[in-house]
């Protein structure tokens, strides 16, 4: 407990026990007879390379985004293209989906194999780009951009600090050897001096397994405190590497990758196939049978919820992702992209907001070290000078301030609105 510095994090009940340790269920065929692949990930909008009636194979390139970063899109099944359609996306804006009718033949397209043992750093990074490896922690930042740096420390994020979500930990535990291979290759691609795996200390068994797997290497396993947002790269680097940076982790010699991204990297290198499948945590108090479900990219949320025994609430919150940073959606027709990892169903919050008593709990918890209650107040007063002095734009909307607020004020949303009115 520092006298002048805030904690900048806090423990949140993870509710991981709902899904952790339960076997991963593969989705039934009848739920995926039609696949809708989102043609937008983050701000990257893909232009389709196939047209209605075309037959596509599993792993085939079907669209490309080139405007900002190069991001390829792949078919996750073999079948016939039935065209594109506009539907609600995970970010609450309508986006284009490519609809593919699954023929269940699982015919794979030509593979892209490289000799990874001999490949240079540049070749590996180029492979990442072609395979469209994105950060699978939720941000979806293209991996090849980060791996351009040299002489860095690889920070592997296995903190999975969002409540309810267990996909990272379960996938890594299931395919530990593949993960190890992915880490070795990623270190090569990043020309990393060492790698550091940050995992919450509550996962005792997995920590032991990881320590055994990486014994004698320069890959170190760090047992981290069970606090939110440990998975925020700034927090992880501060807590694990004891370093700080201004905008990008590379400033302090770090490259951060989500653990499952590295697992995927290993798999793509071994198979030559892009990522067409994901393990999605379907959990929350609103789901009858919370579980992790293995499904092709483009599976609808509806199919996932049905697999997990359906929703037991008449009215609920449906979240793409976890409860803290996941986006609240109102339709279950949304289909998952390869950066989604969870669907959470929760009862509606009932507590009414009352006046802010300036208790400072949000200030205490903000991982950026900002003053959320003051930002919210300045936003309401449209005080541009104060909003600037408060460094409002630094807010990452992690939701910690709203979580801790004893007056149940939606501080995070107030800050979001303050950002919007900023000049």
């Amino acid at each position: 407990m520092s006298f002048l510095l805030s904690n900048m994090c806090r423990h949140i009940d993870g509710r991981k026990e709902l899904t952790e340790g339960k076997p991963i269920v593969t989705i039934a065929d009848d739920k995926i007879s039609e696949i809708c692949i989102p043609l937008q990930i983050g701000a990257n909008v893909g232009t389709p390379l196939v047209k209605e009636g075309d037959r596509v194979l599993k792993g085939q390139l079907i669209a490309e985004a080139t405007a900002r970063f190069y991001v390829p899109f792949f078919s996750s099944v073999s079948g016939t293209v039935k065209g594109t359609k506009k539907m609600m996306g995970a970010q609450l804006r309508p986006i284009d989906y490519l609809v593919i009718e699954n023929d269940f033949k699982n015919e794979e397209s030509a593979t892209l194999k490289i000799d990874y043992e001999k490949a240079t750093k540049e070749e590996l990074v180029d492979f990442m780009k072609k395979m469209g490896l994105l950060g699978q922690g939720g941000a979806g930042f293209p991996a090849y951009i980060k791996y351009g740096a040299k002489d860095v420390d690889l920070v592997i994020n296995l903190a999975e600090c969002e409540p309810y979500i267990t996909t990272d930990v379960m996938c890594v535990e299931e395919e530990l050897d593949m993960f190890k291979f992915g880490v070795e290759m990623a270190m090569k691609a990043a020309a990393a001096k060492s790698a550091h795996i940050g995992i919450k200390k509550t996962h005792k068994e997995l920590i032991e397994k990881l320590e055994a797997a990486f014994k004698g290497t320069n890959v170190y396993v760090h047992a981290m405190r069970d606090v939110y947002p440990m998975g925020f790269e700034r927090t992880l680097i501060k807590e694990m590497m004891h370093r700080t940076y201004d905008i990008l982790p590379s400033e302090c010699g770090c490259v951060v990758s989500n653990a499952q991204s590295l697992l995927s990297f290993g798999k793509t290198l071994k198979t030559g196939m892009p990522i067409t499948e994901r393990v999605i945590t379907v959990s929350g108090e609103g789901v009858n049978n919370p579980m992790n479900i293995k499904c092709p990219v483009g599976t609808s949320v509806k199919a996932l919820l049905e697999t997990a025994g359906g929703v037991k609430l008449d009215e609920c919150l449906l979240l793409m992702g976890g409860p803290m940073m996941g986006s609240s959606v109102t339709k279950d027709e949304i289909c998952i992209s390869r950066i989604n990892g969870a669907v959470t169903v929760l009862p509606l919050p009932t507590e009414k907001a009352i006046g802010c008593l300036r208790c400072g709990k949000c200030v205490e918890t903000c991982p950026m070290g900002l003053q959320p209650c003051l930002i919210a107040k300045a936003g309401k007063a449209k005080d541009q000078d104060a909003l600037k002095a408060l460094e409002t734009k630094r807010c990452v909307e992690c939701g910690a301030c709203a979580y801790v607020c004893p007056s149940k004020i939606n501080v995070t949303d107030n800050i979001r609105m303050a950002k919007r009115i900023m000049k």
Binding site: S2, L4, V329, P349, I354
Partner: protein, 601 residues
């Protein structure tokens, strides 16, 4: 299934709510209140506890009425508004700082100003700039002082509390006078438990310290504010005291008197009116501590805490502004600001300490007292008073003030004049209630007993009537003791009383008088003879047939009026002594005793 939209996180910490925070705060306030009420009851001043409860209820009701009217006028749901504005907290804090003998009228007016102008005009809970209880207390302090006091307890303006007394000497007494002062209020133990008079929330500092721990552990308050503020006061006073030859006890005295503890734990920490960042809170508390000490040492109000808190409330938004932005990036800047503030406070306190001069503690016992009823010394009841020792004309009397069971036995020293009048009375050891009963120590009160007779009148101290009467009782007892002699044979060994003849129940007794007992010459002294009639162990008749002592001195005892005072008396009773004829009186008493003893055989 219908999925609803909600921005921001979907879950919140169900373990914490503002309501829970306010309930814990309310709980600790009630704890301090109960402790204070217990102390108040022990002070033994009639009607004070009842009045305290009355003003508490009045303040809380007033606050509720104001909030309800506010909700009605602003077209809010009354029930919801009351649930989210916590109307009971501010009036309770206010009452804890108000004197127990304030009138309901003064309390209601102050509460209205505090709640309406301190809280509601800003928009209600969470919006206020000033601490509403602090505002109410300021109104009470500046608008209602002497006139609006009920019961016979001392009033707010002249009441002796540890804070008001030390304020009279400018908060910096000399080492000797501080020792007296410290002892007068029961030392460290008295200050911690709160056995002296004062506002309910100010006396029981131990209860406040316990509350501070509870509130900090439950994260209701930020301990940084309390600790920094209390440390500033403590270290500051230690510094100022050390420069002027005062020790640790002085610093503790300053910390534990007045509203410092209460203000530092319950008021300064009010999150609504304090900064939100940690370094901001530290600077805020340092500032409040400095202002408190400045008001105490330089200003002329009796207490600085409430004003210091209100002034600090005013600068809280400015402090917030200084510490805006990413705290990790600004850490060095923030740390520098905190350290510079510490340095400024230290320099200011050092300057304060070296420019002040210690003053003699001469005020308390020299001040005029509040005159109560006028009584005749001879009219008081001397029950319970005991003569502990007699040395010449000096009588040591011990007496537990009647009517106040809580107190111990006080010791008084009464010096009598040659002719049986009172020369002076001193209170050697006063066991009466701190700052109420012990007002009998005030010199101007005791001066009333100088060179008077029991027929003179004195004025009691308003609010300390029982203790005043006890002093008068001690004086009366001494006079009575000098005027009487017990009918006990052991007292009269020198008088050689002998029963010469028994005739039925009439005893002829002879006894020595002044001349023979003292061996005086120049006069033809002979033994006195008496005829004593005894029935059922009591004197029914007394005659003085032969008088052998000095004429015109001892013969006052020959008067039948004096002899008749023995009628109805038995062994062990007190007989009167005529001033100036002590030996002859005792000669009579020795004879009567001898007759009574003979009769008993």
């Amino acid at each position: 299934m219908t999925a609803k939209y909600k921005a921001g996180p979907a879950i919140s910490n169900s373990k914490v709510s503002t309501k829970k925070i306010m309930m814990i705060l309310l709980g600790t306030l009630v704890f301090v209140y109960a402790w204070g009420l217990f102390n108040l009851n022990n002070l033994g001043v009639e009607g004070l506890v009842a009045n305290e409860i009355k003003i508490t209820v009045a303040a809380i009701l007033t606050s509720y009425v104001c909030e309800i009217l506010f909700a009605v006028f602003t077209k809010k749901n009354v029930k919801e508004h009351l649930n989210s504005s916590f109307p009971a907290v501010s009036p309770l804090i206010f009452v804890l700082m108000a004197p127990a003998n304030a009138t309901v009228y003064a309390i209601v007016i102050s509460t209205i100003v505090g709640v309406v102008f301190g809280k509601l005009v800003f928009g209600g809970f969470g919006q206020n700039v000033f601490n509403p209880a602090g505002v109410a207390r300021t109104v009470l302090l500046s608008s209602f002082t002497t006139s609006l006091i009920v019961t016979n307890a001392p009033d707010l303006a002249t009441m002796a509390t540890p804070a008001t007394i030390i304020n009279q000497v400018g908060w910096l007494p000399t080492a000797d006078t501080f020792q007296t002062l410290f002892a007068d209020f029961g030392g460290l133990k008295g200050l911690l438990i709160g056995t002296h008079f004062g506002a309910l929330g100010e006396v029981c500092t131990l209860a406040i310290a316990i509350s501070c721990v509870i509130l900090s552990v439950c994260k209701v308050i930020d301990w940084r504010i309390s600790v920094t503020y209390l440390l500033t006061i403590f270290v500051g006073c230690f510094l100022i005291g050390s420069i002027n030859g005062l020790g640790l006890n002085y610093a503790l005295y300053c910390l534990l008197t007045g509203g410092v503890m209460f203000g530092g734990v319950f008021m300064l920490t009010d999150p609504v009116t304090s900064p939100v960042t940690r370094p901001g809170r530290v600077v805020f508390a340092l500032f409040a501590g400095l202002v408190t000490l400045l008001i105490r040492f330089v200003g002329n109000t009796p207490e600085g805490v409430v004003y210091a808190i209100l002034i600090s409330n005013m600068v809280a938004p400015v402090i917030d502004k200084v510490f805006m932005g990413r705290q990790l990036v600004n850490y060095k800047k923030n740390l520098t600001i905190v350290l510079v503030t510490c340095a400024v406070v230290a320099v200011a306190l050092f300057g304060l300490g070296s420019t002040r001069t210690a003053a003699e503690y001469l005020t308390f016992r020299k001040t005029p007292f509040n005159h109560g009823e006028t009584i005749k010394i001879s009219s008081v009841d001397t029950t319970g008073a005991e003569v502990a020792a007699v040395e010449g004309n000096t009588y040591t009397i011990k007496l537990q003030t009647p009517g106040i069971e809580y107190n111990g036995t006080s010791t008084y020293e009464v010096v009598l004049t040659e002719d049986g009048g009172i020369e002076s009375v001193t209170v050697v050891d006063c066991a009466d209630t701190r700052s109420i009963g012990d007002q009998v120590l005030i010199d101007t009160f005791l001066e009333q007993f100088e060179n008077v007779t029991v027929d003179s009148t004195i004025d009691t101290i308003s609010g300390a009537t029982l203790s005043s009467k006890a002093v008068a009782a001690a004086a009366l007892k001494a006079v009575k003791a000098s005027n009487s002699t017990p009918l006990d044979a052991a007292e009269y060994a020198d008088y050689n009383a002998t029963v010469d003849e028994v005739n039925g129940n009439v005893y002829s007794v002879s006894a020595d008088g002044y001349g023979i007992v003292t061996g005086a010459t120049g006069h033809a002294y002979s033994r006195n003879t008496f005829e004593v009639t005894v029935e059922d162990g009591k004197v029914t008749d007394l005659k003085f047939p032969h008088f052998g002592d000095t004429e015109y001195v001892g013969d006052k005892c020959c008067s039948q009026k004096y002899l008749d005072t023995y009628l109805g008396k038995g062994l062990g009773d007190d007989a009167d002594v005529i001033t100036g004829s002590t030996y002859t009186s005792k000669s009579v008493a020795s004879a009567v005793t001898a007759a009574l003893m003979e009769g008993a055989n």
